[in-house]
């Protein structure tokens, strides 16, 4: 598998080569991980389990009112007195746009044995892409605004984007303008930033008929707040600072606020017809992937 390093005019050829090698070395790992994860979801053809446009035979049904002669399957009809229409299974290709938060906050991990939130988000996103690719869907990355496509090439491109993306901001904001109307979308983030931005993005996406899922990726430390004593908290970029003398006394207030944040996201998702789930980095990714895949399917129904 090859990967073209993103051109960086400022870098020397040697630096370019070096970064390209570094990314290329990480990329197959990401893809391999994603494919490995995707293999856990058993998948036949990406059929819709209903009659429609497609290549595969679905069923014969008696001709009814409005069926054109062209639609009658004469071979089948010849074996009986009635005429039958041969229906194919509907095989509609969908466009799925993924937005993976690449802000600084995603590079946090509370324990050495746990991946960062960002890594977990990328793996889930990539695995979803692999699944979509197998299902024949089109998929794209909303971060870069690339149009949804299908095929191995698109997989490679997305993997390259995911590897290289590293935002400067503390918290990321989803970009809803690039979503094609009527497509599906998946936002993977910790949603710890300003909730208004998420709300805006979500409502504008819904306005354009986009539905999808929100995956909130959190570290267990963020859920438990296991800190005591005199502590200075810093955001990942170091831009925000907060000092407390007794961290453990803040725990309840923090947990309360986290709960509120989750409730707000859930509420938002319910109102807009999206689906919401919270994923913890110490849980296996397969569970979330399965849930995500099913919710996309169901959303399509």
């Amino acid at each position: 598998m090859s990967q073209t390093a993103p051109t960086d005019p400022a870098s020397t050829p040697a630096g370019l080569r070096h970064r390209a090698e570094a990314h290329a070395s990480a990329f197959p790992a990401l893809l391999a991980q994603a494919e490995h994860l995707a293999a856990t979801v058993l998948l036949g053809d990406h059929g819709r389990k209903r009659a429609g446009m497609g290549d595969e035979f679905w069923q014969y049904r008696p001709t009814g009112h409005g069926d054109g002669l062209r639609d009658v399957d004469w071979r089948r009809s010849a074996r009986s007195d009635a005429t039958f229409v041969r229906q194919k299974e509907w095989q509609a290709a969908q466009s799925v746009m993924l937005w993976v938060d690449d802000a600084m906050s995603m590079s946090f991990s509370g324990g050495k044995d746990r991946p960062t939130k960002g890594h977990r988000a990328r793996v889930i996103a990539m695995a979803l892409c692999v699944l979509l690719n197998k299902g024949g869907e089109r998929f794209g990355l909303a971060n870069r605004g690339t149009p949804p496509r299908r095929g191995e090439g698109q997989l490679g491109r997305i993997a390259g984007h995911l590897m290289n993306a590293q935002g400067e901001a503390d918290y990321g904001t989803p970009n809803a303008r690039v979503l094609p109307a009527g497509s599906r979308a998946v936002f993977i983030s910790d949603f710890l930033g300003d909730p208004k931005e998420v709300e805006m993005a979500l409502t504008s996406a819904t306005d354009r008929g986009v539905r999808g899922a929100l995956v909130q990726v959190l570290d267990p430390d963020e859920e438990a707040f296991p800190f005591d004593g005199r502590t200075v908290f810093e955001s990942m970029s170091g831009a925000i600072k907060f000092e407390t003398l007794k961290a453990n006394s803040l725990r309840d207030a923090y947990l309360d606020r986290l709960k509120q944040r989750k409730a707000r996201l859930q509420d938002l998702a319910r109102k807009t017809g999206w689906r919401y789930m919270c994923h913890h980095t110490n849980d296996p990714a397969a569970k979330s992937l399965m849930w995500l895949y099913q919710s996309l399917e169901r959303g399509a129904a």
Partner: protein, 914 residues
């Protein structure tokens, strides 16, 4: 305490001044915060700490740190408790020691202190001299080089008496002209000479007094009071309640010196004396020759007894009473009256009395005795008996043969009557006693008159045999020796019929002089005039009775007047007819602690050892710091269970090891399996035999039975816990030390709670556990304090004969049949048709034998027998039986009387072939 504290580097203590600065510094610094990157910060923004926290350290934490730092500083300054003082001094050094009996108890301690002092004086080049005040050297006080004096220290011994005023006054004059420093080892008792001696030393220079505050115990002479022996123990200084064990020592019937009786003297709080009353049978009492305080090596703690304590057994026999007895006319009335308070009287038939072997036999007007009686009497006198006869009408009228051996003199028939109604003479008075007479010195009351007497035939020996006579020279009392004994004849009656002598006090005194009755403890001075007393035994300062050897006799006047001292060493003195004990303390003695005028330096004998406190202080500082860590963690909210546990663990492991892990390991080893144990005798060879023996037995048990013992253990009775072991094998050696009383109480507890001791004298029981073999004696000595029930030789039906193997013999390396077990109850009887009696429950607490079982059981590393047993196949059979015995013993210990249950009878009968 503080006075005895010194520092190796006191300059470091200056650092303590820095503490206030540290205080100020530490106060200002709050605990440093921790930086954390945390994306969830967005949710935290706007939250406030609910309680405001001080940013200074709490005062108690500061104090803790201050203490830690202070402990470090003081610790590194090297504090030392009881530092060795340098006794700087110059000029000659006199070491004066009281050297009385009261200092003998810790004499070795005193001498070692003297050695130290002399060594120090030697280093400083000071001449020195050592003097024992109880017997100061004659001649001028001479100072020699300290080394030379140290060489003579071995010869410096305490004396059994106290310093004597006269000798000391003499000695003060010989102190010489040079000034010197004096170190005076006092024995801690107050006495009259103290002030003078102190003044004499003070005049020469500085005086330091060294004395111990340990109580001094002493005994006053035993007296006989109200039928009991009374001994008073004294002590000084008085302190808390205390108990002393008094031992009455004397020969047993075999002539071996041993403890005849023990008594406990109980000092109540603050009392300086405790009286002990002993009620001993006269047999035993007459054998007591000294009392001593157990465990006190001092002449004062020993009091010798003399004849004063002995009660003579006196047999009384009068002629046939054919007249109706009237008390006052009875020939024995006055004798009875005179002797009852001081002697044990027996009356009865002559033959019976002789069987009781009395010391004295008094025949009142018994003229003739039968032939058999005469022979018996003669034998008895020959062996040391004293026959005292009184005359009377029958004696006077009897036809006594010319050479009656039971009469000291030949009597003229008829007697004579003087001063009666029918006579023309006056009643005769007594002539003063001559010097040769045992009555010499007794005052003759004027009203003693003799009106009738029997008269001796003139004889060449008559004058020699007369010990008292009337004014006209006719003998009143005659005496002759016969063999070891003597025969004495009073020529008057024992009642007031012929004379008034029995009515007077002189009669009692005469009986006393004849050693018929006991004499009072104190002898009047006039009684002693002209007598000579030869020392038989002397008492040294350590309370050891020694044979006096050929010390010269001492005049009675000296005995009467001189206090105990060099001229009259304490001991037992023999006079003509009695023995006199000169004891260290007179009966009216009192002990009082010495008092010293203010300004005199008084030190203890034992110099407290130097104790460096550095380690303790540094440990304390570390402990404080650990506490500080915990406190700081708790304060900053970082104290979790794991942290606390880790800190405490570090603290515990860094402490000096206080746990007795070794003991625990031993206990575990002893309790996780059945473990046989043997008593450590201190003889390495024997201990190895025991060890190998028990190991061999353990192996046999392992192979043959369901008992699977671990390796045997050695048990030190003094230190080890016994209750873990079902069986103790205790081989007896002559040399093994007698366990302490604590060890005995432990052993008794062990026996009472079901333990068993297998005693093995290893001598094949040739002595039958009497005292005839040294091992047997040692066994008796060792087992005496044990709480052992009545024993009997093992009966045929003892459960030990069938606990595992059916046995009738219990051989070891020897094959004596006799082993002793707890006696069966007297009412145990075999039921009809059963071979065994229904015996007592429980396990016999002791098993005593002498078959050297361990040697028979012993096996070497390869499992081969270690020691030969018997000869050939018979020997191997004997070894097999020995092992079977061992198996049976262990089974018996572990299963108790299980096999004595009648349930097993049918099976056993079958095996026995019935």
């Amino acid at each position: 305490m503080i006075a005895n504290l010194a520092f190796t580097t006191p300059l470091l203590l200056i650092a303590l001044a820095v503490l206030p600065i540290l205080w100020w510094l530490l106060r200002a610094v709050p605990p440093a915060p921790i930086k954390r990157r945390f994306p969830g910060i967005a949710l935290l923004l706007g939250l406030n700490d609910d309680e405001s926290q001080t940013d200074t350290t709490p005062w108690w934490l500061l104090l803790l740190r201050m203490l830690a730092v202070a402990a470090f500083i003081i610790g590194f300054a090297g504090p030392i408790l009881n530092p060795e003082e340098d006794r700087a001094g110059s000029g000659p050094l006199l070491i004066a020691m009281d050297g009385s009996w009261a200092s003998s108890r810790d004499w070795s301690g005193r001498i070692s202190r003297v050695e130290d002092l002399l060594a120090e004086a030697g280093r400083e080049g000071r001449p020195a001299a050592v003097v024992v005040l109880s017997e100061p050297t004659s001649g001028e006080l001479r100072f020699q080089s300290a080394d030379a004096v140290a060489a003579t220290l071995a010869g410096v011994q305490p004396r059994a008496w106290e310093p004597n005023a006269a000798t000391l006054t003499d000695w003060y004059g010989r102190l010489g002209s040079t000034d010197f420093e004096t170190i005076w080892f006092s024995d801690g008792l107050d006495r009259a000479t103290r002030t003078d001696t102190l003044a004499a030393f003070d005049a020469k220079g500085e005086v330091t007094i060294i004395e111990t505050a340990r109580p001094i115990y002493a005994l006053t002479p035993a007296v006989f009071k109200d039928g009991r022996i009374s001994v008073t123990a004294l002590r000084s200084p008085t302190s808390a309640a205390h108990e002393l064990t008094l031992l009455a020592m004397g020969p047993d019937p075999n002539g071996v010196e041993q403890v005849l009786a023990t008594a406990t003297a109980e000092f109540t709080i603050g009392a300086d004396r405790a009286e002990v009353q002993l009620d001993l049978p006269s047999e035993l009492r007459n054998r007591v020759n000294r009392f001593e305080i157990q465990g006190t090596r001092s002449a004062g703690a020993v009091t010798l007894t003399d004849d004063a304590l002995k009660r003579r057994e006196v047999g009384l026999l009068s002629g046939r009473d054919d007249q109706e007895a009237q008390d006052l006319l009875s020939p024995l009335y006055y004798l009875n009256k005179a002797l009852v308070p001081t002697a044990d009287l027996i009356e009865g038939v002559l033959q019976d009395m002789l069987l009781a072997s009395p010391d004295v036999l008094m025949l009142a007007d018994v003229a003739t005795v039968s032939g058999a009686e005469r022979d018996a009497l003669l034998d008895w006198v020959d062996e040391g008996g004293m026959l005292v006869r009184f005359a009377g009408p029958r004696t006077a009228s009897a036809d006594i043969e010319r050479n009656d051996p039971l009469m000291p003199v030949r009597l003229r028939a008829g007697g004579r009557s003087v001063g009666g109604a029918m006579s023309w003479g006056e009643p005769k008075a007594l002539r003063a006693f001559t010097r040769d007479s045992p009555f010499f010195g007794l005052t003759i009351p004027e009203d003693v008159q003799v009106s009738s007497q029997v008269v001796a035939e003139p004889d060449p020996e008559l004058a020699e045999r007369t010990i008292a006579s009337l004014v006209d020279g006719t003998p009143l009392v005659t005496r002759k020796s016969l063999g070891d004994g003597q025969i004495i004849l009073f020529h008057v009656t024992s009642n007031a019929e012929w004379s008034t002598l029995p009515l007077s006090g002189l009669f009692v005194q005469m009986l006393e002089r004849l050693a018929i009755s006991t004499r009072p403890a104190e002898i009047a001075a006039e009684d002693l005039i002209g007598t000579t007393w030869v020392p038989e035994e002397t008492l040294d300062a350590f309370g050891v009775v020694r044979d006096a050897g050929n010390l010269a006799g001492i005049a009675g006047e000296t005995v009467a007047e001189t206090p105990i001292g060099a001229d009259l060493p304490p001991g037992l003195y023999a006079g003509e007819d009695r023995r006199l004990a000169m004891n260290v303390l007179p009966s009216d003695a009192e002990l009082s602690p010495s008092t010293w005028p203010a300004g005199v330096t008084v030190e203890g004998i034992l110099v407290a050892e130097e104790t460096p406190l550095m380690g303790a202080l540094l440990s304390a500082a570390l402990a404080l710091l650990l506490a500080d860590i915990l406190a700081s963690l708790a304060l900053s909210g970082k104290l979790r269970g794991a942290t606390a546990a880790a800190v405490v663990l570090v603290a515990v492991t860094s402490m000096p090891e206080m746990s007795n892990a070794q003991d625990d390991a031993r206990a575990l080893q002893a309790t996780s399996d059945v473990v046989l144990a043997y008593v450590k005798t201190g003889d390495p060879k024997l201990d190895r035999v025991s060890e190998e023996g028990l190991r061999g037995l353990s192996v046999s048990l392992f192979r043959r039975t369901s008992i699977e013992p671990a390796d045997p253990l050695e048990v030190d009775l003094e230190t080890d816990e016994l209750s873990f072991y079902p069986l103790l094998y205790w081989p007896i050696t002559e040399s093994q030390p007698t366990p302490s009383s604590q060890a005995y109480s432990k052993l008794n507890r062990y026996l009472r709670t079901g333990g068993m001791i297998l005693f093995d004298t290893r001598d094949g029981n040739i002595g039958g556990f009497g005292t005839s073999t040294p091992l047997g004696r040692k066994l008796q000595a060792l087992a005496a304090p044990l709480d052992i029930p009545a024993l009997e030789p093992i009966p045929q039906d003892h459960v030990l004969t069938r606990t595992f193997y059916l046995l009738q013999d219990f051989p070891g390396r020897f094959s004596s049949r006799d082993i002793w077990v707890e006696a069966a109850p007297a009412d145990a009887e075999a039921a009809e048709g059963l071979p065994f009696r229904d015996l007592n429950d429980g396990v016999t607490p002791v098993l005593i034998g002498g078959n050297d079982w361990a040697a028979a059981w012993a096996r070497d590393e390869r499992g081969n027998p270690r020691y030969p047993v018997g000869r050939g196949f018979g020997g191997e059979r004997q070894r097999e039986l020995a092992i079977r015995f061992g198996v049976n013993v262990v089974m018996h210990v572990l299963t108790g009387n299980y096999k004595s249950d009648q349930v097993h009878v049918p099976a056993l009968l079958e095996r026995l072939g019935n």
